[in-house]
């Protein structure tokens, strides 16, 4: 069972999201935080905690006049947004604070071309490629070091071990796009065919461009609070049923001992150990798609399908709207843009509130959202009261 007090999500919000918006990270944080508070009818006066990945929680609190702050977290070694969510949940459950805004603010990363030209120096991504020191001395001189390279390695291992095919990943990409077609906030809404997928260029074979999320500027914010407070908010509360966070090694994806089954298996087992619910109770699943293989590993880790069966499971249409368990109903980060995991939380909340209109799953009662894989990851199970 989950320790401590029952936690709920009261509000969710996004900033303006787009390609090279010119908006500062402060502006993206301000817009998304105020949108999330407005969503639940709260104000900054109700907030006594801030958690974020990258950026700076105290800096953000000062900007918004949130003081005193009883809990904050500015995470660096974090498996995307779910880390900020888990810290918020832990802080409220334990009683250290009452209401936490968890954010993920993303400034569009430079393209590979700009990295090579040494442009985009203000972005942390550029520094990752400029000095072969520390662990990077075993990657950069070898021509490795981009996340697409480890994503290619983990994709290939799944194919080699389980017989997964490139078409299986294509079915996943096509299914997500069909969901995005029903989401006005998605960048990409035109249907895709298998030919389109197979014509997409490789970035690190077997990984294709269409297997990668889409870089953009984005701010996402979610208001976590106690169940009691959430019941007084403007929107119906969504309860945190269980949460788990897992790290199995340092962050060197390239030398994982087994690339086909990684941290999500440990994380999912822990998640299910904290609840009476199981995979069959899920109405929807919102599984990180920074690379297609991540979604596949989570389908298997959570027990939505069997080990090694994600490819055929997706190809049979089970993850589509109308299928056995609709996955990434907003279209995923490949289509709504890189919100570094936060979109999966927000879409899960909206499904459980019944706010998803054309893509609404009927009578949604329980949804899971997950971020990252490989060395580290996290998962949160949400449900209707």
């Amino acid at each position: 069972m989950m320790p401590g007090r029952r936690v709920a999500i009261a509000g969710v919000g996004y900033s303006t999201i787009g390609r090279n918006t010119g908006l500062s990270s402060d502006e993206l944080m301000i817009q998304s935080t105020l949108a999330a508070l407005d969503d639940c009818g709260m104000t900054v006066k109700d907030v006594d905690g801030l958690t974020t990945v990258g950026g700076g929680a105290i800096h953000d609190a000062w900007l918004l006049g949130i003081a005193p702050l009883s809990w904050w977290c500015t995470a660096m070694e974090a498996p995307a947004f779910v880390y900020a969510a888990h810290q918020a949940i832990a802080a409220i459950a334990s009683g250290f604070c009452e209401t936490v805004v968890a954010t993920r603010i993303i400034q569009q990363q430079p393209t590979g071309k700009k990295l090579i030209e040494g442009k985009g120096k203000q972005h942390p991504m550029t520094a990752m490629f400029s000095a072969a020191s520390g662990d990077r001395q075993f990657l950069l001189p070898f021509g490795a070091g981009s996340p697409v390279n480890w994503a290619g390695l983990l994709t290939q291992r799944h194919m080699a071990r389980f017989g997964t095919t490139e078409e299986h990943f294509g079915h996943h990409v096509i299914a997500q796009r069909s969901h995005a077609a029903l989401n006005e906030d998605a960048f990409f809404r035109d249907p895709l065919t298998m030919d389109d997928y197979l014509a997409s260029r490789y970035v690190s074979k077997p990984l294709r461009l269409l297997d990668c999320d889409y870089p953009c500027d984005s701010g996402s914010a979610i208001v976590f609070t106690t169940e009691e407070r959430a019941r007084d908010a403007r929107k119906p509360p969504v309860l945190v049923e269980a949460s788990s966070l897992t790290a199995i090694r340092d962050l060197n994806f390239e030398i994982l001992e087994e690339m086909a089954v990684t941290s999500p298996k440990v994380c999912a087992d822990e998640l299910w150990s904290r609840t009476d619910l199981g995979p069959k109770d899920l109405s929807t699943a919102h599984l990180y798609d920074g690379f297609s293989i991540i979604t596949f590993q989570w389908l298997e880790a959570l027990g939505i399908c069997g080990l090694g069966e994600a490819g055929p499971f997706v190809a049979e249409g089970h993850t589509r709207l109308g299928g056995r368990i609709p996955v990434n109903t907003d279209g995923g980060a490949c289509n709504v843009g890189r919100r570094h995991g936060a979109n999966f939380c927000i879409e899960a909340v909206r499904q459980l509130r019944g706010e998803c209109e054309a893509r609404q799953v009927e009578d949604a009662t329980a949804s899971v959202f997950t971020n990252s894989f490989g060395p580290f990851c996290g998962a949160v199970l949400l449900r209707k009261p």
């Binding site: 490629f129 075993f138 950069l140 390695l153 291992r157 071990r161 690190s204 390239e254 994982l256 001992e257």
Partner: protein
Amino acid sequence: MSDPATGPLLPIPDEWSRFFWDGLAEGELRIQRCQQCGKYIHYPKPICRFCLSRELAGEPVSGRARLHSWTVATQAFHPFWIARLPFTLATVELEEQPGLMFLSQLVECAEDDLSAGLPLEVVFEEISSELTLPFFRPSHGSEAR
């Protein structure tokens, strides 16, 4: 001296990794090994995570390995590698210890011939006058496990 603008990105060795790069210059693949419990550790670290010993040293290894996974890089993230595309990055498991993984490149093999578990052997590639790297190729001998 290779031109820094056109040459490969050179490693910046530190006190824990210097033996590795020195070994390559001498035609030897060396991996850090705990002198207390005998476990190999890669990437090199200031402490053995198995027994917390500080007695660590680089030791030569056989260079024999099995292929765990691979990916064909079709986009480079450093100018030096653009002209060398495509090339195959691989994670290999060194035979000395289960789970002792090493990231490298595969050479002298066709993509269609690759499969998980393929026996490999190290081959030293002079990338530039200042950089020799341990790459892997399918093993020719009968030493495969």
